[in-house]
Symmetry: C2
Subunit: 160 residues, 2 copies
C-alpha cells in the first residue's frame, strides 16, 4: 500500500507530513500501534486489494490520552467508492468501543472539501481553523481545520 | 534539569505526556531539534542554575511546517520569577526570526490559569477548547486549549 500512500504524501495536498517521508518512516508511524495504544486498519475489496487505510491512537499522552486522533489514506484509483466513509465509520466506532471519550483531527486542510464534508457527515465538527495553516501546492496558504466529536461515555437521561 | 521536568510530568497537572515518561524519552524528545528543524533553550540564573527550559519546532510536517509549536517547563523552586515569561518571549521572537508564520500551542490545560494568562499576555489567543480534553488529577476533566498567534511575515501598511 506504500505506492498510494507515497502519492498522497508527495502530492502535499492533503497530508501535513514531510513530502519526502521515507517508506520506512511512514510504515513505522502508521503501524506504531503494535507498540502503543490504538490501532491500524486497512480496507480491502473482495480479492484482497488494499483500497485504503487508517490509523488511530491517543492524540496526547497521559492526562490527554483519553481523546483519540486518526489519519486516513485512500488509494486514488479507488476513490468515490465509499472507502473513506467506511474507514471513518469503523474508526469512530472502534475508538468509542476502546473507551476514547472524543475524536480530534488535528490537521484537515480546508481545501480538502470532500474530506471536510465526509467528516462532518460522520459527526465531526470544526472547532478551530488555523489561519493559513496549510500550504497547498496549487491553492497556496489555506486554513487548517481542527475537527472534534464527543464519543462518550453515553450521557444519562437528564444529565448535562 | 531532569529532576524538575520529572516533577512536572509525574504531577500530570499541566503536561499531556505519559506520566511514566522515562528520562531518556523525555530528553530525546525535548532535544530532538539537533536533528529536526526548531530549537531547544534553557533559562539559567547568574551561576548557571537551570531555571526552566523550552523547545520549539514545526507543529506539522511538510505543507504544515511553517507553523511552530512549543513546550515550556519551569522548575517549581524558581517559579514566580518571570522565567516562563522570559522563555515565552524568547521562543516567540526566535520562531518569528526563523521564519515561522504562526505559533500554535496544542495542549494548554484550562486549569493551568497562570500559563493561560501568561500566554494571553504574550499575544496568544484561544482558538478552541477541546471539551474535557485534559484529565487533571484533582480537578477531573477540564478543557484543553488550543492557542495561536500569527507571527508574520510582517504585513505591509495598507495590506490586510
Amino acid at each position: 500500500m506504500w505506492p498510494f500512500m507515497r502519492e498522497i504524501v508527495v502530492a502535499g495536498e492533503t497530508f501535513s507530513w514531510d513530502t519526502g517521508t521515507s517508506e520506512a518512516d511512514a510504515r513505522a508511524g502508521w503501524f506504531r500501534h503494535g507498540h502503543e495504544a490504538g490501532f491500524t486498519v486497512v480496507a480491502t475489496d473482495e480479492d484482497g486489494t488494499v483500497l485504503g487505510t487508517a490509523e488511530c491512537g491517543p492524540n496526547h499522552g497521559g492526562p490527554g490520552s483519553h481523546v483519540a486522533s486518526a489519519s486516513f489514506m485512500v488509494d486514488a484509483r479507488h476513490s468515490r467508492r465509499g472507502v473513506g466513509r467506511a474507514l471513518g465509520e469503523h474508526v469512530l466506532d472502534r475508538a468509542r468501543a476502546e473507551g476514547f471519550r472524543g475524536m480530534q483531527f488535528n490537521a484537515v486542510a480546508e481545501s480538502n472539501v470532500r474530506a471536510v464534508r465526509l467528516w462532518r457527515s460522520l459527526g465531526m465538527e470544526v472547532l478551530a481553523t488555523i489561519p493559513e495553516g496549510f500550504r497547498h501546492p496549487a491553492a497556496g496558504y489555506v486554513g487548517l481545520l481542527i475537527m472534534y466529536q464527543r464519543l462518550g461515555p453515553a450521557r444519562q437521561a437528564g444529565q448535562r
